[in-house]
């Protein structure tokens, strides 16, 4: 599994002691820190466009060099203050040549109307953002004030570190912290930052919950479909980088290792369709191979050769819309599938017992949804 590299960027008038302090928290979640230091950068340097531009170019060069040497297609970023501005100026200047995975912004001076919708949803230049902000952060308000007064030489700055971003998409999570510009660098939150960046890798508390439910759902399905439990499996797919991938460890009886690396598009098979439409789908094999178009050849080749059927349940908030129950804010798909034979019940989709079973299995994914949704924001497990 490729490692995730986390670039850290300090602010002005500091060398970023917090960058060293966050290292063990990143390591605990399997993340590789890469601390960048552009030296002492004073307030006066921030006021002049040419000194700011030099720092943006420096960061672009550093990140390109990092990508060349590691092969990383995306890096994650933790930045504070001027570092937040630098990271996003570099991203916009690269115009697609540079992509970030997940970003933690602290004491952000990025303009409040930063075009996150285009950057995340249209271009895919960033996957998700955690904006750690404090209403008492007067430094970011000062930066916003300067940006308004200084006219054409001003940086495109704003008080997003105090007041948040304007109309951000769901992938931008605002987190309010008590205090000011320094309190957003609170060591008590470093583990949350690491969890946020590590997602969809699950920390032990969330993984335990998800594993337990996946095992129980698989056992229930096997019993109700009257199948040998050894022939029934379960796994969870979650979105990552515009595709669906199997969530490591959140599976039961998945012993065919090539399947662990299957990559699905949102229209692939029953899994992709369940994710896209927010409704359960089943798929069953009717010939020697799966029908062309269900999965592209390289992904079909990874499937267990004895796989015969899949029931895909979207993991989302169940709501009733136009008298139809659908999953909203879908965070993944739970697949229950089976080897060797298609159960009789699955061959009669209108069967009342099958519908009750599908609904029961679907609704029991609610606690998996809660855990994944929390893990996606970096928050640990909360007691109900």
């Amino acid at each position: 599994m490729p490692v995730k590299i986390v670039v850290t960027l300090h602010g002005i008038r500091t060398h970023g002691r917090w960058q060293k302090e966050v290292t063990p928290y990143l390591a605990r979640h399997g993340l590789v820190p890469y601390h960048l230091d552009y030296g002492w950068f004073g307030v006066l340097s921030f006021l002049f466009p040419w000194t700011r531009a030099r720092r943006v170019q420096w960061l672009r060069d550093e990140l390109r060099d990092l990508a060349d040497r590691t092969g990383a297609r995306r890096v994650s970023v933790i930045a504070h203050s001027f570092g937040t501005w630098l990271a996003l100026e570099a991203l916009e200047a690269e115009n697609g040549g540079l992509r970030y995975d997940r970003m933690v912004l602290t004491g952000s001076i990025v303009r409040r109307d930063f075009p996150w919708d285009a950057v995340i949803r249209r271009h895919g230049w960033v996957q998700a953002v955690r904006n750690e902000r404090a209403r008492g952060d007067h430094v970011v308000r000062l930066a916003a004030w300067f940006a308004r007064l200084a006219g054409p030489v001003a940086p495109r700055a704003g008080a997003s570190g105090a007041d948040g971003f304007l109309a951000p998409p769901a992938q931008v999570r605002e987190t309010l912290v008590a205090g000011g510009h320094s309190e957003v660098l609170n060591i008590a939150n470093y583990d949350r930052w690491a969890r946020f960046i590590a997602y969809p890798s699950l920390p032990p508390d969330h993984l335990r919950v998800v594993q337990t439910l996946v095992q129980q759902i698989r056992a229930l399905a096997a019993a109700e479909l009257d199948l040998d439990p050894a022939l029934v499996r379960a796994n969870v797919f979650v979105p990552e980088g515009g595709t669906l991938r199997m969530l490591r460890g959140a599976w039961d009886n998945m012993t065919h290792a090539p399947e662990h690396d299957i990559v699905l598009r949102f229209d692939h098979g029953s899994t992709g369709r369940a994710f896209r439409d927010g409704m359960p789908f089943s798929i069953r094999r009717k010939a020697r191979s799966w029908t062309a178009g269900v999965l592209p050849g390289p992904q079909q080749a990874r499937l267990h050769p004895r796989l015969q059927w899949v029931l895909s349940l979207p993991i989302g908030r169940l709501v009733t819309h136009d008298q139809v129950t659908v999953a909203r804010d879908v965070v993944g798909v739970l697949n229950v599938d089976g080897l060797d034979t298609v159960p009789a019940m699955l061959q009669t989709p209108g069967d009342a017992a099958l519908k009750a079973l599908v609904f029961a299995l679907w609704a029991t994914t609610e606690k998996i949804r809660r855990s994944l949704a929390l893990a996606d924001t970096g928050e640990p497990l909360h007691d109900d």
Partner: protein, 63 residues
């Protein structure tokens, strides 16, 4: 709650309809689905039945 017969997805190209089924669950009139689902969860671990009830409440599907 009533649930329509699970229907082949109409939008899918013909070669796939033979294999893929979309399950459509319609409300609000009642049927045995919620009751049947609860019955089969009666002997299941507590985590599953709790999870089920939370989802049902969230969707406004009280039987």
């Amino acid at each position: 709650m009533t649930i329509e017969p699970s229907a082949p997805a109409a939008s899918l190209p013909a070669p796939e309809t033979a294999e893929i089924t979309r399950f459509v669950f319609r409300t609000p009139s009642t049927s045995g689905v919620l009751q049947r689902a609860r019955e089969l969860l009666a002997a299941a671990p507590r985590e599953l039945s709790e999870s089920f009830e939370q989802a049902v409440r969230g969707a406004g599907l009280q039987a």
